[in-house]
Symmetry: C2
Subunit: 663 residues, 2 copies
């Protein structure tokens, strides 16, 4: 497996590959997940990888064998007995009698899709292939002797179902099968997945590999064929190499077309698999190996000398390692300027057999590249958001939602990562019972939580109302922070084009903290209207479509804008006209007040010079009239213990007989 | 699975398939083999198929289970315990602990390659892929608990090795892996093999499928999931359908590029596999099925109404059968003129699960097509040979060679079939210990044996001599039958061009049975020379290159032609000149005789007027001299009990002092 890490992301040597696809057939790896030894936590895994730590453990096995040929060291993956059958839509009885791979692979599939910034539920009915590489299935032995009820043992131990169950769970359309090609299995399915997309059999593919070893016999038989290390160390490419550790792993990749991918780990330029074990030749002949590599680079149109790093096999068998390095030397070290770097994940986690190819690929693409390569290039501050970021999350339980939010806020906010999160969680994920969100902001290079909410979510749709307020809801500088939202700023810019010729500076009106929007009635009208236009645009942009709109006074214009009866230009022009009328006409100096009495009762007690302007509800109305009379009446009501409060209305007795001439 | 049997072999509706390959990527099925229930003998299988016989047996199983859910009827394949480990280069211990599929698939692979007219040993080092579809491996359970020595149980039960062992045995280069896709497995590998060739991953492919069921649990578990018939009959598409029989089978196809194939059963135009089991839908939804079929025909560029026959699934599950037929009706019966024929091999042999697709394909392509379709078109007499045909054969033992020869001569000679045979057997097949040939001719519509030979063959090369005789070996009409060989006739034609201007009719000279080549000396010379030229050409054409050539008299000219010292024109001209000299010059009336006495002794007793013309060997010489003296000396020698016989030499005392003036 060879990775070309040129800085510009281009292959050196041009592309004259005979099997090259047209640009629309470019296939990329957009999501990854792996369950490897020691990899319960990603950060911990990275740290260990960089400290060259060994993930192999001398762990109490599932079985107790004192057979001298059973190695005490193994690369084991955790929690094989845990499985959320309900979430993955597997019947309880089937889950009980399923082989471990087919259970755990569902979890990794979920994670790989999430990793690609895709919501698993969105894949339903899509043309997506599933190809899975697998080897020995040791559950089968136990399952077959299980005389239970029903047919679950047959379905549970069918290897076809490793792939088919993924297709079933996600309701996919497309080819779906399992492959056995021993240690090549996981790379063979990578090729199958890539080819299936390139040939148009499907538009995306889920591919993966697994090896789980439950029986001591496996270790005994394997050790008789290929040397196993008994000191727990896999000394790849080392003169003291004395065999590798056997390890378990489950890996899954999500493959997409270049143009569909939200995240790109790597593009699959070319692959080539070959059976080359000559029946008269020797084990791993360097000459054959070189020939295969040479042909590979020729077909791929890549100059071997431009390759910077090779993730090799590294079986820690001296003869095989030597043959591998000899072949690399012959093909890749010709005309080389910089030294060729060679590594093998086998030295960290042991040999994972059927899925070893993908373990190496994931190590290089996800951990090494992301950590040491992409992260060096990536400047999070460069793309740092100027506004707080909302992070959506869902999970089986509220605690799962919290875990995701905790992870996000535990580090610098990465808008790209959050965009991927948004892609995953913006719609409901089937069988996720809890949803939540957090609003975070970077302040002095620290992540600050502005808001966080989570709760069990019943999927019941509730009506969405947009409420447009009238006069009295404004404050000085109320638009200042909103101007950081580009969509809002764009709306204000459009309003400015209408108002500037009329001599008004709308940006200053809404965002100057020293300038009250109450300074004059015209500013109030256009300020409120502009902000309503901007907010409506922002809400629309995040996909919120109101079931109903309601508004009062100037807010009625907002309603008209929300349901497309008015354009933004018309709305801002109307609000300007209304402001001009209010400021240029001479009215009696009026006042308005909100009162905690219903419309009916108020009609009875209201002084004759005052009008009931608004019917707010059964126990609330707004009155309007000459300033002195209103003020006196408010004091009377307050004296009687009735709620009454004068409103800021720029001394205009709106909705009363005193402004009738404005009509 | 749908087959289009248009008489002209062309697809109706043209080809606008989006995935169509360029003409050089056309992939065909060139060889087939199957081990199916009841198919120990091909002819018997055909007969049974046409009598609509059921191949399912109520046979003593390997195990004794009185479990009421174990069906008494099974489609079993024979001789699972027999295997020629040495031939297939499998170690004895590995053969003992290998699963049955990986053993028996080697046999079927051999047969499929032979069937394509290809010698298996020729495939060595070629770019040939191997893709094998498999399901449950029930040997694994037994093997895994086997605590033997060595690692053979792991290798023997690895499913990867089903494919890899074929690659290893034939020493192939190319992708090699095993696939599990349940009942789709064998068609999935057909698609993989076709795509691998079309994409240039390999130049040919061996693909196949298998299902073997050894454990009673399989029947129990399966029956709980899908109905199994308990009366031994699989009533496909029948109102009384009550489930299918479970059956075993192993199938193998050899796929080649169109231009490489010597035999073509079918071309693979288009394939499409799809996972379509909706997780909220019902079992086999006719609507989804129709959609898939419609898309398939659209992609393939074939008009559904032009399809004549469909080999269907026919699970004999009333609901599934109905859904299948409904889908066929919707898609294939629109605008149909002739009724659509639908069948399923499941009714004959039961459901063979992982390899059911290929069983159907082989039934249609090999048995139905060959027997009822191709044979109707094929007129063996049309291509009947005018000369006897040599049939080559090899085998593990002489009896195997005889079996092949017996099969050939048991029926009308088919030159096309014999050409395929020749392709297979012309070079040595590795580990075949016996070789042989038969020469057969069709006389009065019967196959007559002209010669047959077989023996153990030690592979040691022996020197090949071409011996060119001198005068005295000719007879009247000796060239008549040889003229039936086109290469021979062509050589005579070339001689004719030289001789016709000189007034000689060489065809008449060598083939007229009433015209002795001894009529005159000129005829003898040119006749022998022309025949030597013709025979040399024939021997060369079949690839025989002599290690040595030897000749006497006119035969020395033959030697010169054989080693390219003379052209045919030069040789025939020289023999003509020699004849002219002999006929136009006046010599003493001479005679020659062969005598059973060595040269040395003869020199002592020979009369002075006689010369010793030839030194034939330690106890044989030829004498030459005047007719009367030679005649007298022969009588004397005969009287003494010494072998002496006058030779026909047209009364010319060749190689004696009496013809010295011709020099």
């Amino acid at each position: 497996m060879v990775f070309n890490l040129n800085d510009d992301g281009e292959r050196a040597g041009g592309n004259n590959a005979t099997t090259a696809e047209t640009s629309s057939n470019r296939v990329v790896i957009s999501g990854m997940s792996a369950l490897m030894p020691g990899r319960n936590d990603l950060e911990e895994f990275n740290k260990k990888l960089y400290n060259k730590e060994n993930f192999v453990v001398n762990q109490e096995p599932l079985w107790h064998s004192n057979h001298p040929e059973v190695t005490p060291y193994r690369g084991k993956i955790a929690d094989l007995d845990r499985f959320d059958a309900q979430f993955f839509m597997v019947h309880y009885r089937l889950a009980q009698s399923s082989d471990s791979t087919s259970r755990k692979v569902l979890e990794q599939t979920y994670q790989a899709i999430i990793d690609a910034g895709v919501c698993p539920s969105e894949l339903s009915s899509k043309r997506i292939g599933v190809f899975f590489g697998n080897g020995f299935d040791e559950s089968f032995k136990l399952l077959y002797s299980f005389h239970g009820k029903g047919y679950s043992t047959l379905l549970g131990s069918s290897k076809t179902m490793i792939a088919n169950r993924i297709s079933y769970w996600l309701n996919l359309r497309g080819p779906s099968h399992t492959v056995e090609a021993s240690c090549c299995s996981s790379l063979v399915v990578l090729q199958l997945g890539r080819d299936a997309i390139a040939r148009g059999y499907c538009d995306a593919a889920i591919i993966g590999g697994s090896r789980i070893m439950l029986q001591p016999q496996h270790y005994i038989n394997y050790n008789r064929m290929v040397p196993i290390s008994f000191d727990g160390k896999t000394k790849c490419y080392d003169v003291d190499a004395d065999g590798h550790i056997l390890a378990e792993a489950i890996t899954v990749l999500f493959l997409q077309k270049y143009e569909d991918a939200k995240r790109i780990y790597a593009e699959i330029y070319h692959m080539k698999s070959n059976f080359s074990y000559d029946n008269f030749g020797k084990y791993r002949d360097p000459a054959k190996w070189s020939k295969h590599l040479e042909k590979f680079y020729e077909e791929a149109g890549v100059s071997p000398s431009s390759v910077e790093y090779v993730e090799g096999c590294g079986a820690a068998d001296p003869e095989a390692d030597r043959a591998e390095l000899q072949a690399l030397e012959v093909v890749l070290c010709k005309d080389r300027k910089k030294p060729l770097l060679v590594g093998s994940v086998t030295s960290n986690i042991g040999s994972t057999g059927e899925t070893s190819g993908l373990c190496g690929l994931i190590k290089v693409s996800k951990y090494v590249l992301i950590v040491s390569f992409f992260n060096l290039l990536k400047d999070v501050t460069r793309s740092q958001s100027q506004i707080p970021l909302m992070v959506l999350a869902s999970g089986r339980q509220e605690s799962g939602v919290q875990k995701i939010l905790d992870h996000i806020k535990s580090k610098e906010l990465d808008p790209e990562e959050i965009a991927l999160h948004h892609g995953v969680y913006k719609t409901k994920i089937l069988n996720h019972m809890a949803r939540g969100f957090g609003i975070y902001e970077t302040v002095n290079n620290k992540t600050v939580t502005r808001s966080e909410k989570k709760r069990y979510y019943d999927s019941a749709a509730r009506p969405l109302w947009f409420v447009y307020s009238g006069m009295g809801s404004q404050w000085a500088g109320m638009g200042e922070q909103l101007m950081r939202i580009p969509i809002f700023a764009a709306a204000i810019e459009r309003c400015d084009r209408v108002l500037k010729p009329k001599g008004l500076d709308i940006v200053d009106i809404i965002s100057n903290p020293d300038k009250s929007m109450f300074d004059n009635i015209l500013n109030s009208f256009v300020g409120i209207a502009a902000i309503q236009i901007g907010l409506t645009d922002v809400l629309r942009a995040v996909g919120l479509v109101p079931d109903n709109v309601i508004g009062h006074s100037v807010g009625e214009l907002g309603c008209a804008y929300a349901d497309d009866c008015l354009t933004d230009e018309e709305m801002i022009s109307l609000s300007y006209s209304r402001g001009i009328v209010s400021t240029t006409m001479e009215f009696v100096r009026g006042s308005m007040a909100a009162v905690g009495i219903g419309f009916k009762q108020m009609s009875k007690i209201c002084p004759p010079d005052i009008d009931v302007a608004c019917h707010n509800g059964p126990g609330s109305c707004t009155i309007s009239g000459p300033e002195e009379i209103v003020c006196k009446f408010v004091n009377e009501l307050t004296g009687q213990g009735i709620f009454a409060k004068e409103l800021q209305c720029s001394n205009i007795a709106y909705h009363s007989r005193y402004v009738a001439k404005a009509g």
